[in-house]
Every structure is written in structure tokens, then in C-alpha cells.
């Protein structure tokens, strides 16, 4: 037994575990399953969904992580193989893949890594919206965990089961109760890899915005901008999305559009200095020094942890305004079409 075969054996012992789960579920309540039944009774979910087009990658030894990731990435139209993903997530010393690296690898491929709330209803909502969900299961026991990534590709509320792409099984049906039992030890961990501009059905503004920033940091500027725009379609007042969009437009040189986004941001959250500071700086970059003065002063007046930046923006603008030819500067000067001289 030099090389352990992980997931195929997991599948074989799963049958035994189903019995054990049935025994145990008799004593413990299953809040996740109850929540799904409640959602079913309130007609909040389609009765039956199967994402039959989601591809299947039978997993190699220990490689359920790369296989699960390839399943969702290829399903969303990315050309990638489990072998290429093993290079990004598989950890030889652990003979497996870490959750953090599964999220990080989704990002490396230009997808937004979205970790779901620990809720079966949320997983089913995503599947109903057409998004296959990666889940981390413990198919062993709590003291002897046996971790396994699988992809939820469907469910049937009337039969009470989920459908998985798992290990070497293309279409594995698991009833809700044992699924809850296997899933519980990972604290109901589930993730999506979502290419912008598509938004997860269960996304919330703050969490999704943070996930977009993480992808943008890796250099996916175009994807990030699409994601911010998608956020604004769902949350038109989102401060984070407006700031992200403004910064992204500024970085690509579309200054007038950037100024517009920052102006909207400053209206959406008039208590935060960042929108005013960035609006002032963008107007300054456009050469509209006089218009830049007001927001720059506003940013300094609001203070906050980034006061230093606001102050240096303001003093740079004040220096330029003082150098303008017709030196009739009032606090709220309306005129300012004149282009500034080169600095």
C-alpha cells in the first residue's frame, strides 16, 4: 500500500456510511434538511434541477480537488484540465488540496471565488440558478476524517436527494440526510467559481465586492470592471462597486467616466473621504483644478484613516490653482473649463 487510492475507496465505503448516517440521524436533528423542506413548502425552490451539461472529470489518485475545480471552471467556459489545476492546488505533502487554495485557484483563472454561507438551501439556490457548487465532504468519521471534494449539479426535492459529480462517479445520488452528515464536518463548506459578469444567486454586496477586489489584485482588470458593473446592476447604490469601477476606469485612462463614478460614490456615501479624494484627484488629472478644490476640501474635512492622502491631494491641487493665470479662485468656483498647463 504505497500509494493510497483515496476517492474511489471513499465511494465504496459510502454505502456503509449511509447506513451509519441513517442510524445517527435518528438521534440528531438535521436543521439543514428541515430548512430545505421549509423552502420547498414555501415554493422557494424549483422542485427538480439537473445541470446535465456540467462536464465530468473522473478523478485521478487524490486529485478530487483539481477534478472538482476543473468541473466548475470548464462548465463556465474556461479551457483548462485537472492536470493544469493540480499544479495550482494539489499539495503532495498532504496528498490533497486545501480549501484556501481551491478559492485562490479560482481567482488565478479570472473567476470570482465565492464561498457560500453554510446552508444547503443556498447551495440548492445556486444550482437552481445554473451554478454547480463545490462542496467539501468528510466521507470518513470525525476522529478519522477523510476529506473529499465533490460538485453538486442537481437535486430533487420530492425524492429528497442531491446529485453529485464525485470521484469516479458521473452521477451520484445522495439523499439529503446522509449528504448533511458527510458535509457537516467541513462546517458546511461550499464554493463557486463564477466568471464575471455573472453574479452568484446568493451573493451579498460586501462579501462579493471583497471577492472582486481579490481577483483584481491578481491583475484581472477587465474581469473586475465587469464584476463591478454587474454589482451596480443589482445594487445601484453600492459604494464599493462605484469606487471599484471609478478606480478601474481611472487606471485605464477613462478619466471623465471615472469622475462620474466617484461623483455617484460620493452621493451614495457622503460620509467617506475616499470618494471625494478620488474625485478630486481625477478632476485634477483632467486639468479641472478649480472643480477639484471642493471635493478635495470635503475629503480633508471628513478625515478618517486616509487623511494623509486627502491632505496631499488637496495641497497639490491648491498649489496648481494658485499658479493658474486668472487667479480669481473662490471656494465654489463654477468656471474651470480651462486646461491647466503641463505640470
Amino acid at each position: 500500500m504505497s500509494a493510497g487510492r483515496f476517492c474511489p475507496q471513499g465511494a465504496r465505503i459510502a454505502g456503509l456510511l449511509l447506513l451509519a448516517a441513517a442510524l445517527l440521524s435518528g438521534c440528531a436533528g438535521l436543521p439543514q434538511v428541515d430548512a430545505v423542506r421549509a423552502a420547498r413548502d414555501r415554493d422557494q425552490l424549483p422542485r427538480r434541477v439537473e445541470l446535465a451539461d456540467v462536464p465530468f472529470f473522473p478523478q485521478q489518485e487524490h486529485h478530487c480537488g483539481p477534478a472538482a475545480l476543473a468541473t466548475v471552471l470548464v462548465a463556465s467556459g474556461t479551457a483548462i484540465t485537472p492536470e493544469a489545476l493540480a499544479e495550482q492546488v494539489y499539495l503532495p505533502g498532504r496528498e490533497g488540496s486545501l480549501q484556501v487554495e481551491m478559492l485562490a485557484a479560482a481567482r488565478r483563472n479570472g473567476h470570482i471565488a465565492w464561498q457560500l454561507a453554510p446552508s444547503l438551501v443556498d447551495v440548492l439556490r445556486e444550482v437552481a440558478a445554473g451554478n454547480p457548487v463545490i462542496v467539501l465532504l468528510n466521507v470518513g468519521l470525525r476522529p478519522m476524517p477523510f476529506w473529499h471534494y465533490a460538485v453538486v449539479i442537481g437535486y430533487d426535492l420530492d425524492k429528497g436527494e442531491v446529485l453529485l459529480r464525485s470521484g469516479d462517479q458521473r452521477r451520484k445520488r445522495v439523499p439529503f440526510a446522509p449528504f448533511d452528515f458527510f458535509w457537516r464536518d467541513s462546517k458546511y463548506w461550499a464554493m463557486l467559481a463564477m466568471p464575471p459578469p455573472r453574479l452568484p444567486a446568493t451573493a451579498n454586496e460586501a462579501g462579493y465586492g471583497t471577492a472582486v477586489v481579490a481577483v483584481e489584485r491578481l491583475g484581472y482588470a477587465a474581469e473586475a470592471r465587469q464584476a463591478y458593473e454587474a454589482m451596480l446592476a443589482r445594487w445601484p447604490e453600492s459604494y464599493l462597486a462605484l469606487m471599484g469601477l471609478g478606480n478601474s476606469l481611472h487606471a485605464s485612462g477613462r478619466l471623465a467616466a471615472a469622475a462620474d463614478a466617484f461623483r455617484r460614490a460620493s452621493l451614495a456615501k457622503p460620509t467617506d473621504a475616499a470618494a471625494f479624494n478620488n474625485l478630486a484627484q481625477t478632476l485634477a488629472d483632467l486639468g479641472q483644478w478649480r472643480e477639484a478644490l471642493e471635493p478635495a476640501r470635503q475629503a480633508v474635512a471628513l478625515g478618517g484613516p486616509l487623511l494623509e492622502t486627502s491632505q496631499s491631494t488637496l495641497s497639490a491641487i491648491e498649489r496648481e490653482v494658485a499658479r493658474l493665470p486668472a487667479n480669481k479662485v473662490r471656494k465654489s468656483s463654477k468656471k474651470g473649463e480651462k486646461k491647466a498647463r503641463n505640470p
Partner: protein
């Protein structure tokens, strides 16, 4: 000791060099400064930087090449790096040893026997 010290100093220098372009970035406040309490003080920046170096060397110790480990750590957020630093062995990984499987099977068979026949 001197080697350790040199390592520390060079890390700090790299950090300062890294921080330089951001601090003078045309007066703009970047989006990650706005998102979810990302506003770190100087100590937080250093801690995160050192945590990244730790996670990278831990990944290397677990059989990843240094280039690959660097790319993999770069794709993690500060929060994820903080969660992983010093904790990689304690994290679930999608696999287990064959002995654990064998032991799990034995325990389950025993449990079934216990519940059905006792």
C-alpha cells in the same frame, strides 16, 4: 544568528520597496483600501508580509517548487494567508492516508455490529 538577521533585514527592505509605489500612487485611494476593513496599520502590513513568507516556505516543505509556491501564495488574500500561516497541517485537505480509510471501515463495521446485534 547573523543569517537570520540578514534575512529579516532584507525582508524588511523588500517590504519598503514594495510599499513605495503604492504610497505615491497619484493621490488615488485604491479599492482594496475601501473593501471590508482592509485598512491595516504598519504593523499589520509587516505581519501579513511575514505570514506570506511563512506560508510560502510551508508549501515548499510540502513538495511545491519555490516558483509555484510563490504564485500560489500570491493568489491568496491577506485574510486567507493569516488563516493558513502555521496551520497548514491542521487544515482539511481533500485526501487521507489508506490506513485512515481502513481504520474508518473497521470502525463502521464495528458500529453496525454493535447497533444491530447487541
Amino acid at each position: 544568528m547573523s543569517r537570520q538577521f540578514m534575512k529579516f533585514v532584507s525582508r524588511l527592505l523588500v517590504l519598503c520597496m514594495l510599499a513605495l509605489p503604492f504610497s505615491s500612487h497619484a493621490g488615488m485611494i485604491p479599492t482594496d483600501q475601501i473593501a471590508a476593513a482592509q485598512q491595516q496599520d504598519a504593523r499589520g502590513v509587516v505581519t501579513t508580509y511575514l505570514a506570506r513568507a511563512d506560508v510560502q516556505s510551508e508549501l515548499q516543505a510540502l513538495g511545491i517548487s519555490s516558483d509555484s509556491a510563490r504564485d500560489r501564495v500570491a493568489a491568496m488574500t491577506d485574510e486567507e494567508v493569516g488563516r493558513l500561516a502555521g496551520q497548514i497541517q491542521a487544515q482539511p485537505a481533500g485526501a487521507a492516508s489508506p490506513w485512515a480509510v481502513a481504520a474508518a471501515v473497521i470502525v463502521i463495521v464495528w458500529a453496525l455490529w454493535y447497533f444491530y446485534y447487541r
